[in-house]
């Protein structure tokens, strides 16, 4: 059954912005308080990666490894196979690429319950250049059997995501933006693993977005409404495993699907949606995301503008696509 937009914070009163890192910091402390098996692993990243409060409250359950990420993931595997729930946190490149083989062999192959936080995702720290602006890791992780990927859409989901991930019994990668996220969902909203949320209904075209791009797509949808296009907006917080039913139901209704992500259009959300549609419900699609290149240096605002990821530019792209159909 579709999860309709009854839980959605409506546009007119949605001007609340949340700091994901603060929410995750509090959530980690809360989870550590309620569950003695939760351990936190940092790689000289505890302060910037949401571990400050946990570290202070539970020093025995915090393991610091310095700038040595392969070792951090291996340690996490040893703890996890011994019944602990490791939460590993650092900037995206250091929890994904550097220790990739340890993630594949030691966490994924073994199906160990563990949580990898990819802090400062997408263009969060784009001033640091392409070594730190990672736009491909969802695609790379999507290829790993047993890996789960969650990109929360707003503060309400960030608040719940650790608890949800801790019960999946597989490694879970959580993509965390440093940019304050616009509140989309009301307090009663439940982040359900593997389930998409229809945040706006519509009949003319389907927009499927993830993470930071859900609020942008929602804004774009309201702009399109002014032009007479009724867009349905789906928030796809769990990218793997993806909610096939939600994709197909909406695609059948609208016949046109656009995906929007702060990530490369190769192997990310758009590809995941295309894999479903090409197999079960061939539908015309447009991918909005970044191209096959390393991003230039700039501010967050400059880069989302450069890559057409502002709500105005998303609306324009969708309009162009819509008119061609």
């Amino acid at each position: 059954m579709d999860r309709q937009d009854t839980n959605t914070q409506k546009n007119e009163n949605s001007e609340i912005y949340d700091d994901a890192r603060k929410i995750i910091t509090d959530a980690l402390l809360e989870m550590g308080t309620s569950n003695n098996n939760v351990v936190f692993i940092s790689m000289d990243s505890s302060a910037g990666a949401c571990g400050t409060s946990f570290k202070k409250a539970f020093p025995q359950r915090h393991f610091e490894f310095g700038i040595a990420e392969q070792n951090g993931i291996g340690e996490a595997a040893g703890l996890a196979i011994s019944g602990k729930i490791p939460v590993i946190a650092a900037y995206v490149p250091f929890t994904t690429y550097r220790p990739f083989e340890q993630i594949r062999d030691d966490l994924c192959k073994t199906r160990l319950n563990s949580i990898i936080l990819g802090n400062n995702s997408g263009f969060s720290v784009s001033a640091l250049g392409p070594t730190h602006t990672i736009l491909e890791e969802v695609g790379i992780f999507r290829a790993l059997p047993n890996m789960t990927i969650i990109c929360p859409a707003d503060g309400t989901e960030y608040r719940q995501v650790l608890e949800v991930a801790s019960k999946i019994n597989n490694p879970t990668y959580i993509r965390i933006s440093r940019i304050k996220s616009k509140r989309i969902f009301g307090e009663e909203h439940k982040l359900v693993f593997g389930k998409a949320d229809v945040v706006k209904t519509g009949e003319d075209i389907t927009l499927i977005a993830t993470g930071t791009m859900v609020s942008k797509s929602l804004e774009a949808a309201y702009e399109l409404e002014g032009c007479g296009i009724k867009a349905e907006v789906i928030s796809m917080s769990t990218i793997k495993p993806i909610d096939e039913e939600a994709i197909i139901t909406s695609a059948v209704k609208t016949g046109k699907v656009v995906t929007i992500e702060e990530h490369s259009i190769f192997n990310g959300l758009g590809s995941a949606v295309a894999e479903v549609l090409s197999k079960k419900c061939p539908t015309k699609m447009k991918f909005i995301g970044t191209p096959d290149e390393y991003a230039p240096v700039g501010t967050y605002e400059e880069l989302i503008d450069y890559y057409g990821l502002t709500s105005a530019k998303i609306a324009q792209s969708i309009m162009d696509f819509y008119k061609k159909q």
């Binding site: 490894f65 291996g74 340690e75 040893g78 019944g83």
Partner: protein, 285 residues
């Protein structure tokens, strides 16, 4: 005075050579990493027979000592040792290299009881063992974690990340055993990438070390029974071993890291092993 009797040593020799013979029999199903399996076998024999607190009938016993074979390609030594200990039926060994086997060329923890962690890609085991050691400390358990590495494997940077942090965390329930046979797949370790002096490196990172002859059962036992060598420090045993130990035509030859044998060579190898076992037993008297 030795900590183990002459008869115990003889029994250990018999067991380790029985395992070597079983490894050769497994090879009817294909080629194998025989060099490292044979160099590490005597250490595993002492570990499983005399040192590890473990229960083959209850392989997940939470207080058990853990053993991780970080150099996973030496797993035939582990398979035959576990079989010898009664973890599983011998018939399992005769499925080596067959489709969906429980005894593949690298160990799989989901396939067999007694395999603590899957390994294969080198340089992973010590970090994983360190995590298990930390879990033991958190849970106030007394178990020890033994990780066996190779000297070729010791070129991996990840090994030294773990050596550094285990020293930093004073993990005296963690033991690294380096099966230092001096050879790796393409030649002599001193030529490919010299990892020596291992003792000095481990010491520099805060470990207590001991160097032994990895084929002398007394020395192996004496070192392993003294773990931790020092309270508050992780222990490293540098075991000087001989690649393909027990097969005289293959000993200390890198070509036998992964033996692509001719079928006719196996019978000869079995005879060779039996002869070597007799000689070892004669030496004990």
């Amino acid at each position: 005075m030795s900590g183990i009797t002459k008869n115990e040593v003889k029994e250990l020799i018999r067991k380790s050579y029985e395992c070597r013979e079983n490894i050769l029999k497994m090879m009817q199903f294909g080629e194998a990493h025989i060099g490292g399996a044979f160099s590490s076998l005597d250490i595993m024999t002492v570990l499983y027979n005399m040192i590890l607190r473990h229960d083959p009938k209850n392989p997940k016993w939470e207080d058990r000592d853990r053993f991780i074979l970080s150099a996973g390609h030496k797993c035939m030594a582990l398979y035959t040792t576990l079989e010898n200990q009664g973890y599983f039926n011998k018939e399992v060994l005769w499925t080596y290299n067959t489709f969906n086997t429980k005894v593949p060329m690298h160990p799989d923890e989901k396939a067999l009881p007694g395999i603590e962690f899957p390994t294969g890609s080198l340089g992973h085991g010590l970090s994983v063992g360190q995590g298990m050691a930390h879990a033991g400390k958190l849970d106030k358990k007394n178990y020890k974690v033994f990780v066996m590495l190779g000297d070729g494997e010791s070129a991996e940077g990840s090994v030294w990340e773990a050596v550094m942090s285990a020293g930093h965390y004073n993990l005296d329930n963690l033991v690294a055993i380096v099966d230092k046979n001096g050879l790796q797949v393409n030649g002599r370790t001193t030529d490919i990438m010299n990892s020596s002096p291992l003792e000095d490196k481990y010491k520099a990172f805060g470990w207590e070390t001991r160097t032994i002859n990895g084929h002398d059962f007394n020395e192996i036992y004496e070192a392993l029974k003294d773990i931790p060598f020092k309270t508050g420090k992780p222990s490293a045993i540098i075991a000087n071993t001989v690649k393909s130990k027990g097969l005289d035509f293959a000993e200390d030859k890198y070509e036998f890291h992964h033996w692509h044998f001719k079928e006719s060579e196996i019978d000869n190898a079995v005879k060779n092993i039996a002869q070597c076992a007799r000689e070892e037993l004669c030496k004990i008297g």
